[in-house]
Structures are given as C-alpha cells and as structure tokens.
C-alpha cells in the first residue's frame, strides 16, 4: 500500500498538470494567441459583414478600427469622463467607472449618470467582464502600464479601445478633438477648441507685452501642504504662465516639490494661490496668520487665494482649466482684465459644454 501512496502523490501531480495544461494545449491547437486581430471590426454577431469602418490613431500611437457610428461609449476614469462630456459625448455614455459617478460636479451636470453600470475604478482595477457586458462601441482609457492588460482583454473581445493622454494643454486639445472624431461629435469638440484658442489668444494679447520684470510672481501651494509647490514640469506651472504670471518655483523639478519656509520667504511672491486639495492649514486664513510667512509680500498685501473651484479643482489639465487661467489672470492683473466678467464667462462655458450654468450647478467663485 505505500506503493500506492507514492502513486497517489504522483497521481495528484499529474491530475493538476492535466487540468492546467489541457486548456493551454487547446489554445496552442487553435493557433491563436490572446488578442484577436482588431481588423474583424464587428463586435456583436460573428459572420455579419462589417459595417463601414474607419481607423484612427489614438494618443498612445495605436491604430484603432472603429465602427462608422459610435453610440455606446464607456469611460474608465473621472478626468476621461469629464473630457468626453465636454467633447459632446454625454448622451452616448453607457457605463463609467465608479468614481465618476461620485463626482459632485458630474452628477450635477448629468444626474442620470448614477444609473449607469459601474465598471470598476482606476485605483482598484477595472472589471473587464462588466465592460463587455455593457456592449460598448468604444472604450476610452488612460495611458499607463496598469491599463495594458485591460486593453489586451478588450481587444480579444474585438472591442475598440482609445487611449487618451490629456497631460498638457496641447494634449488635452488633441484629446478633445480625438474624442469628438471618435464619437462623431466633432462640432462640439471643435467648439471647445475654438473657445480655448480664443481665450488663450485674448490672454496673450492683453498680457503678452508685460515685460518679464513686471510680471506678477506667484507661489502655488501644492497637494502636500503649504511647503509643497508646483515645480516647473507640472501643468500648474503652465497655467500660471498662461495667466501672465511667473512661477517662483519654475526651476524645480519632480511634480510637487518640497521647499523650506526660508526658501518661500526668500522667493517673496506677490501672490500665493493654494490648490483645493492642499491638505491642512493651507487655506488663505491659515497662511495669512502663519508667523513664519508674515514678511512675504503676498501676505502683507492680502493676496492669498484658494484656486477654484470648491466643487472640483480647475488646476488639472482638463477642459475647465481655461477658466482657472482666466480667474488667475484677473487676480494678477485686475486692471488689464477689468473688462472680463468672470462669473458670466464661467456660466457661459458651463452652459455651452455641460448644459447648465456654473451657478445652476451649484458652483460659486468665493473660496
């Protein structure tokens, strides 16, 4: 009987092996690796002739084949949802990630969003089966190594995936145009781009001629508290410059950079602006009463502000950041920007691209 026992262990080993190897062998037999060719096109019924197709190149350089008409869209991360909505895709959304449905702003703009199926989140992982079950015509995803497996799995289901990379203003405009093209909402997408171009031109017209030494020097309080700030490679740096200002920390590198109180005092910025998500003790009142910062010009002249908006930060590379630029420009150069009615501008923007004015959505511009 001990002989049988040695057999038993080997039996178990071979059983496990068989259970695991057989399907893999089957995979070899059928001669396909995962990831069916995207050229199949159709994604519901096999053997039906593909409707007219078109190919586009997404922002990750991938060539994606799309059906002629895209009516069912899934977004997988909040900035993406914002972007798709701004590009005119609100009515085509059939499912989103969980966090998108928890964004106060998005819910205000599109109350029905909460009834859409949720497909996971960027932070915790996307549920590919849920995505497939919602039968999308196209899925928009962010760029990164963590999303690669999702792309592969969706491609194996012959579902087109479009990668968007809105990290700089240029890229964001590109993304909006691309989304418009994908969804067939080029008009609205173009509208947004035009709006951006118009405003950016207006800013450079009015503020471009200010000599460098007369520009307002700005310190932006960053995500990790008063002594973290936007280094030169962040979008926020670009934002400040577009608004005609100079980022005192522009020579630094590496995302949100840590600085000492001394450094901040030495920089002596004219204006201090804190992002909404800066953490503790970084609101204007706390900054103004901070004993270490009393000598700074911005504190002395009461030019310490919170970057809008309270509902959703505008300093990210996303469609509403143009409003952030306008707001900052008005703060830095109230005379030159005197004829800008900020709240009207903001209301119009929201009405055009999100269907309701900012005020209707519950937003305010006071802290």
């Amino acid at each position: 009987m001990p002989r049988m026992r040695s057999l038993s262990t080997r039996f178990v080993a071979s059983l496990l092996a068989a259970l695991l190897v057989l399907p893999a062998l089957a995979a070899c037999n059928t001669g396909q690796s995962s990831g069916a060719p995207a050229s199949q096109g159709e994604n519901t019924e096999p053997n039906t002739p593909a409707p007219t197709e078109r190919t586009i190149t997404d922002q990750a350089g991938r060539t994606v084949t799309l059906p002629a008409e895209v009516n069912r869209v899934i977004t997988t991360w909040r900035p993406g949802t914002l972007l798709i909505m701004a590009a005119g895709g609100k009515s085509k959304l059939v499912a989103t990630d969980g966090p998108s449905q928890q964004s106060e702003f998005l819910v205000q703009v599109f109350p029905e969003i909460t009834s859409l199926p949720k497909v996971g989140s960027k932070k915790g992982g996307l549920n590919v089966e849920a995505i497939v079950a919602a039968k999308p015509d196209v899925v928009f995803v962010w760029s990164g190594s963590d999303v690669e497996p999702v792309i592969q799995q969706l491609e194996s289901q012959q579902i087109p995936v479009v990668v968007l990379v809105p990290e700089t203003l240029e890229q964001m405009e590109e993304a909006v145009m691309l989304a418009g093209k994908v969804m067939g909402t080029e008009e609205q997408a173009q509208q947004m781009i035009s709006y951006y171009d118009e405003k950016l031109n207006m800013l450079s017209d009015k503020l471009g001629t200010i000599p460098a030494d007369e520009r307002s020097r700005v310190y932006m309080v960053g995500a990790y508290g008063v002594y973290s700030t936007a280094s030169g490679d962040l979008y926020q740096n670009f934002l400040i410059e577009q608004a005609g200002g100079v980022n005192v920390a522009s020579e630094l590198k590496g995302g949100w950079a840590e600085v000492s109180a001394e450094q901040l005092v030495q920089w002596n910025p004219d204006v201090i602006v804190a992002v909404q998500y800066c953490g503790e003790n970084c609101d204007p009142a706390s900054i103004k009463s901070n004993p270490q910062l009393q000598t700074i010009k911005a504190v002395q002249n009461d030019k310490v502000y919170m970057f809008p908006s309270a509902m959703d930060p505008w300093d990210y590379p996303e469609p509403r950041s143009i409003l952030g630029m306008l707001w900052l420009a008005k703060i830095l150069y109230p005379d030159k920007m005197a004829d800008l009615d900020l709240i009207q501008e903001v209301d119009n923007f929201h009405k055009t691209f999100f269907g309701k004015t900012f005020t209707e959505l519950g937003g305010t511009l006071d802290e």
């Binding site: 009987m1 026992r5 038993s8 262990t9 080997r10 178990v12 080993a13 059983l15 496990l16 092996a17 259970l19 695991l20 190897v21 057989l22 399907p23 893999a24 062998l25 089957a26 995979a27 037999n29 059928t30 396909q32 690796s33 995962s34 069916a36 199949q40 519901t44 019924e45 096999p46 053997n47 969980g98 949720k118 497909v119 996971g120 960027k122 932070k123 915790g124 992982g125 996307l126 549920n127 590919v128 089966e129 849920a130 497939v132 079950a133 990164g144 190594s145 963590d146 690669e148 497996p149 999702v150 592969q152 799995q153 194996s156 289901q157 012959q158 995500a223 590496g254 995302g255 949100w256």
Partner: protein, 345 residues
Amino acid sequence: MSNRTARRSRWKGSLGIASLITLGIFVLSLGLGRYAIPPSQVAVLLWEIITGQFDPAQATEPARVLYYIRLPRILLAALTGAALAGAGTLFQGMFRNPLVSPDVLGVSSGAALGAALGILLPGGSSATIQIFAFTMGILAVALTYGIAKVSRGQSIVMLVLAGVVVSAFFEAALSFLKYVADPYEELPAIVFWLMGGFHRASWPLVRALLFTVLPGMAVLLLTSWKLNILSLGDEEAMSLGINVSLLRPFLIAAATLMVASTVSASGTIAWVGLVVPHIARILAGADHDQSMPVSMVMGAGFVLLMDDLARTLTTAEIPVGILTAAVGAPFFGYLLIKGTREAWK
C-alpha cells in the same frame, strides 16, 4: 496494520474531499462573472475547448469572454493558490516553524521593488514590469541565501535572519521609490500593483507560468517525504543521510521559482501561504507526503474562491489580497485559540 489503513484512508479521504471541493469551485468559477453566461453554454464551451474544437476566430461573444477573459483568470488564480500553499508548506517544514510564510526569504519584497522599478523606468510595459518583478524576486532570495552561506554556513536560523534583513532592505528601497514616484501616474500604478489581483490574466501569461509553477510543484510533491526528514533539524537530517547543503538550496530554488513567478504575475497575495498549510496539516496529518498535495489543492480552491468574490461581489474589483486577509487572518486567529495541538505544539 489496520490502523495504518485507517490513517491512509483518512488521508485519501481528505485529499479526495479537497480535490472534489476545489474541482467544484473551479466549475462554479467558470459560470461566475459580471458578464452573464448561462451554465449550459459554459458546459458546451468547455467541452469544445478541451476537445480542441474551439476556434476563437468564429466564436460568439460569450465564448470569447469565457475563453479570453474568464478561463485564463481562473487558471491563474488556481496556479497561484497552489504555488503559494505549496511553498508555504515547504518553508514551514524546512524552517521547522509553522509561522513562516513563502515571503520568509524575501521574494515578495524583491518582486515589489522590481515592479516599482519597472513602473518608474521609461517605456515600461506590463511585460517588462513582470520581468523586473520576477528577476528581483529571485535576486532577493539569492542575496538572502548568499548572506546566510557566508556567515557560518547556511543554518536555518541564519537563513531566516538574512531573509529579515534582505526584506527590510528591499522594502526601504521600495519606500524610497514610492517617494520619488510621480504622484499622478507612477505612484498610483505602484500602489495598484502592490495590491495584487488576477486581472492581468491572459493566455500568454498562464502559459509562461505553467513553465515555472508546474515543475516547481512537481519537485515539491516528489520530495515531500524527504521534507519530513529535513524538518527534524539539520543534525538529525544529516545523520539520516540527507545532504542538507544540496537539498535545501534545491528546494528553495524550486519554491522561489514558483512564488516569484506568481507574485510577478499577480502581486502579493497574503495569508494563503501561511494559513492553508496549517489547515492541510490538520486535515491530512503531519506527514508532508500527505499534507503537501492537500495543501496545494486547497490553496488552489481557496484563492479561486476568493477571486470569484473579488470579481463578482461588487461592481468594482476588490483586490483579492484584501479578501484573503479578511478571511485568512480571523481564521488563523480561530485556529490559534482552538489550540491546534494536533498539528503543532
């Protein structure tokens, strides 16, 4: 002799039951998922796949979901569970310590650091990250072994201590990388990887893992009786004719190959390698020849079940490591309280 027969049937019973349960979970998993596929269709598809009739180019959507998304994931989960449980049984026996997990020699810390490096380096794809993780996992164990060997021969105590040192070092390095990582993309990607999960499953990945995990499992199963001798301690093992300085590194290598590959594919999944060997010992007895196969089968079933929950419980994906901890830790506490006098002191 009748008592021996009784104990043998006890083992066969526990192996049989464990296998049956795991097989049941396997079949159940095939039918579970956010994409609804009726059981009859699942059965048909499974048959087609096994008999090689399945042709992905002609398949319907449910078949494609089953074939490309669900099946690889199930296999990955089962392989991972079996590998972790088997490695746990091996290390607990080898280090004569029922509180040891497969991470004891630093493979997880190494793999985590490797993944972080892969994420931070420009042009990192999912595949490069896995390769980095795998390589660093192996490197960490090699380093542990080297340190132990250099200091007065590789006794068990030295190996464990060296493992502590190496793990601490790699974890410090990981903290540093997290600190310098870009907070928008890289840091979340690192955190996401660390949480662990089987959503990366694909056929190429499963096939690659078969090459590393199956041989490792085979080695562990075939030498499981020898593990008994090894578990007596170096002196007695040597006196009984075991060349400890050859067998131990050989087994460590086999186990590390298994664990490094599963960790690089699915991240760190805790508690499996610690708790499942205990349960296997309680059910099948202390003889590793009996407890090793039971441990592997149970590990596969347990992780499979946890992953089923992870992908179907809510609309999101719950990281499977959270579930294994949520189930594993209290169960372990229960075992301690109940006093597993049968299995260990």
